[in-house]
């Protein structure tokens, strides 16, 4: 294969560090004009979309909930310690209130009696919210596959499953990084939009909350371009008539 060497036609930035410094100084003083100014802008300004920027920020500032269920919670504590130090990725602040948390890590076995409580905590978290199912017990019930436990997929949407019994902290850190990839790659607000579950909301009084539901669906439709689920149209008609 023949190699061609030629001078590039596009303007090249000055390679010398001092020259670049002077270049930037002239720019700040407003002394750059014409082609020089074009060149400066080209090499120092990065364009992106708001959506991408927001999802980038979102993925790098997840606050997990301080919530442990069993022995996996001990491994979960380890990821904030110096060896794994999940703070490098912006996950360091464990929040004690579900209202302030973005991520719930189900670290352990969920019994039938505990499941409604876990689900309530998850429902109390604000969107966008994410869930990691950590360990064998709450993903596939592991060694406790018996009358007492319920797999977490049965009662809440899980974004990432981390296998292991218990998973090493490295595995959980990997799971968290996969979650970050997921958030940054697919910036959909709300788990209902992510899992195509719009219309499954439960309200104590559908007629009374219809107005809020309407605006909620409107906002989702604007964001996602989603269609409203038929059952709620029926509910709306019944209460309106």
């Amino acid at each position: 294969m023949e190699i061609k060497r030629e001078v590039l036609t596009t303007p090249q930035p000055p390679v010398d560090f001092r020259a670049r410094q002077l270049f930037a100084r002239d720019m700040l003083r407003g002394q750059l004009e014409g082609e020089d100014l074009e060149r400066f802008v080209e090499e120092s300004v990065l364009t992106t979309t708001v959506e991408k920027a927001v999802s980038w920020a979102m993925g790098n500032s997840i606050y997990p909930l301080t919530f442990g269920l069993a022995c996996c919670a001990i491994e979960m504590m380890t990821i904030v310690a110096s060896r794994m130090d999940i703070a490098r990725f912006g996950f360091e602040a464990f929040r004690a209130s579900p209202r302030q948390a973005d991520l719930i890590i189900l670290s352990g076995r969920v019994s039938i009696k505990m499941a409604p409580i876990v689900r309530r905590i998850y429902d109390q978290m604000l969107e966008p919210k994410f869930a990691i199912s950590m360990g064998a017990c709450c993903s596939s019930m592991g060694v406790f596959n018996n009358y007492a436990l319920v797999p977490s997929d049965k009662f809440m949407p899980i974004d990432v499953h981390v296998p292991g019994c218990p998973p090493r902290p490295e595995a959980l850190a990997h799971g968290i990084l996969r979650l970050r990839e997921k958030i940054q790659g697919n910036a959909k607000d709300g788990w209902r939009a992510r899992y195509d579950a719009i219309g499954t909301e439960e309200f104590t009084d559908p007629a009374g909350d219809e107005r809020h539901l309407e605006s909620y669906h409107d906002s989702i439709r604007v964001i996602e371009g989603h269609q409203r689920h038929p059952p709620f149209d029926e509910v709306g008609d019944a209460s309106g008539a």
């Binding site: 039938i112 009696k113 019930m141 436990l149």
Partner: protein, 169 residues
Amino acid sequence: MPDATGLELIAQELREAAPDSVLDTAFYRGRAEIRIEPSRNREVLQHLQDRGYTFLASLHGVDYYPHEPRLGVIYELLDMVEVDRLSIKARVSTEEPRISSVVGLFPGADFPERECFDMFGVIFDGHPDLRRILMPEDYEGFPQRRDFPVGGEPILFTHNEAHNYGVNQ
């Protein structure tokens, strides 16, 4: 632990204090146990408590399926002065799983009796608040009985999944 002779002495005391209460004694691998008539459990435990066995270390149930009577209620007593342990075993049938509560003697028996009721369905007569403690209130059946199905869920793993979400979408 009382030795084998000490166990027989205690059993003899019980026979005199509460006639027909002791069914059998056993001394196996250094552990002394007395098998008692379930209807006399309060008298036996009262006597042993007065005698120095003041601490109920554990109260638990057993299912001896297929032997009859199936259910066992076991009291592990401890004499904290002599550091002496004694097991009291009572057997009740599944048709009539009733035994009187010993919460009046040992207040610490409250939760263990509830757990025994929850898991094995033994009804403790005279218990102040006998309801399920670990399983949900509306749960049906007694899960630690041997004839109760183990339960569990068939789990969808990657190898038996028809469509691998997130990979081949």
